[in-house]
């Protein structure tokens, strides 16, 4: 643990995630017709802005939630193999996938308390919406994570990435990959699944938060999205290895570079998803999850399990 070579990635993890999340937010601003500098200006604006309280609120609980959100995103990213020299992931954990999922789940608890804290109707209803969203999308998400893990026979993301020599899981189990992308957007309550922060609720869980509080919620959401998108690389896109189509290593290149490129592809797919779909109402996203996504996820998991067992 005391070896500086292993500590360095840990120390750099949070700043790196913030930077990448900022870039993703800038790309998101461009795709919705804004300027790329908008997220940076917004960050500065929120930093110079006063924080704010509401009568009879529970600021402690709200701020714990607001702080847990970005922290959970960093902790989720910590087990993702980023192709760093030496070790694969900043923290090598043999049950990394379960850890990753646990951190994502903690994030929705954080949003719920953030919505609860201000003691105001719009924020409260925004907090409520996290509950059906999380419960409906955790199952497809968990199954989409488990399916590659079953194929690779390991809960260690690095092992899953290494098991894809020759054939990416995105090709071999495309439904799981698609489900992972959709449920990732839902886990980060982002894009079509932004109902907890919906405009119909004047910002929902964020409605009463100003200044740094608001920044934590908004930035934490992008950080969570990027962390979840990063996990798609080892799970479905072969981790730090170059594309298998190119044959045995004509490009070579450092693994972290390939992870970066693949992460960009995943983020581009997610940004495309937002362009495709409006924000879904609670009834709609619940219907989608229960009648379409979960049966698909179970079917995909069964197919993969049967093939692996045979």
């Amino acid at each position: 643990m005391a070896d500086p070579a292993t500590l360095l990635p840990l120390l750099l993890l949070a700043p790196a995630l913030v930077v990448v999340a900022g870039l993703a937010a800038a790309a998101g601003a461009v795709t919705t017709g804004g300027r790329p500098g908008t997220p940076a200006v917004e960050t500065l604006r929120l930093l110079t802005k006063q924080r704010r309280r509401t009568p009879a609120d529970d600021p402690l609980l709200a701020r714990i939630g607001l702080t847990v959100l970005p922290v959970a995103a960093v902790l989720a990213l910590a087990v993702v193999p980023l192709g760093l020299p030496g070790t694969g992931a900043p923290v090598d954990l043999d049950v990394g996938l379960v850890w990753f999922n646990a951190m994502e789940v903690l994030a929705w608890f954080a949003v719920w308390t953030a919505g609860w804290g201000p003691n105001a109707a719009t924020a409260l209803v925004g907090g409520y919406r996290v509950l059906p969203l999380g419960l409906a999308y955790e199952l497809p998400h968990m199954l989409a994570i488990t399916t590659p893990a079953i194929a690779a026979g390991s809960l260690d993301p690095a092992t899953v990435a290494d098991a894809q020599h020759g054939l990416w899981y995105a090709v071999w189990m495309p439904v799981a990959f698609l489900l992972y992308l959709v449920s990732t957007a839902a886990m980060a309550f982002w894009g079509p699944f932004a109902a907890p922060l919906g405009r119909d609720l004047a910002g929902g869980a964020a409605a009463e938060h100003a200044g740094l509080d608001r920044l934590l919620l908004r930035a934490g959401r992008w950080m969570l999205l990027v962390a979840a998108a990063a996990m798609a690389v080892p799970l479905f896109l072969g981790g730090g290895a170059p594309p298998p189509i190119t044959g045995p290593d004509p490009f070579g290149g450092p693994p972290w570079l390939w992870v970066g490129i693949k992460l960009l592809v995943v983020l581009a797919l997610l940004l495309g998803l937002r362009r495709l779909m409006p924000v879904l109402r609670m009834e709609r996203f619940a219907t989608l999850a229960w009648t379409v996504l979960i049966p698909l996820a179970v079917a995909q998991a069964l197919v993969v399990t049967v093939v692996v067992l045979l």
Binding site: D58, M142, L155, A301
Partner: protein, 166 residues
């Protein structure tokens, strides 16, 4: 030694948060404190090298707290109020019983000669965390699915009875 201090501190956190569950004056705080208690225990398990167990406790318990919140919103007399919430009965009896339980269990913990061998969690970890857990995860997901479907069915079967007061 570090481990002892860490474990003692986390154990204390878990117990204090656990007591806080029944002292807190709002349901949101009670739920939060219960989760905090679980997370403290999970960190102890992680420190013991029981990685899988610790991580699964965090995962499952957070989901469980969310389910609890759903029902809390539906059922509680005062789920949202920050006003003092006391809904207790036979306080004295339960206190005596609880103290008795604690006395017996703590005596057991302190007096029984627990078998200890050289702890080697790192070797045990990783050896058989490959195969069986896969299946466990799959079964886990399916069980959860069945439970939630059942729960939803039970909850909504009586139609839109939401507007009623008591």
């Amino acid at each position: 030694m570090t481990l002892l201090v860490l474990v003692a501190a986390l154990g204390l956190v878990a117990v204090v948060a656990g007591i806080g569950v029944f002292v807190a004056d709002s349901m949101a705080r009670a739920t939060f404190l219960l989760l905090a208690s679980f997370v403290a225990v999970a960190v102890v398990l992680l420190a013991f090298g029981l990685t899988y167990l610790g991580v699964v406790v965090v995962l499952m318990m957070t989901i469980e707290m969310m389910i609890m919140v759903v029902f809390m919103v539906m059922l509680m007399m005062n789920p949202a109020g920050l006003e003092p919430m006391t809904m207790v009965h036979n306080r004295r009896g339960s206190r005596v019983i609880a103290l008795g339980v604690f006395a017996v269990l703590a005596a057991g913990a302190l007096l029984v000669p627990w078998p200890t061998s050289a702890p080697a969690p790192t070797t045990a970890r990783g050896t058989d965390l490959m195969g069986p857990q896969m299946l466990t995860m799959a079964v886990l997901g399916l069980t959860l699915l069945a439970a939630i479907v059942g729960t939803v069915a039970l909850s909504v079967s009586r139609g839109p009875a939401r507007g009623g007061g008591r």
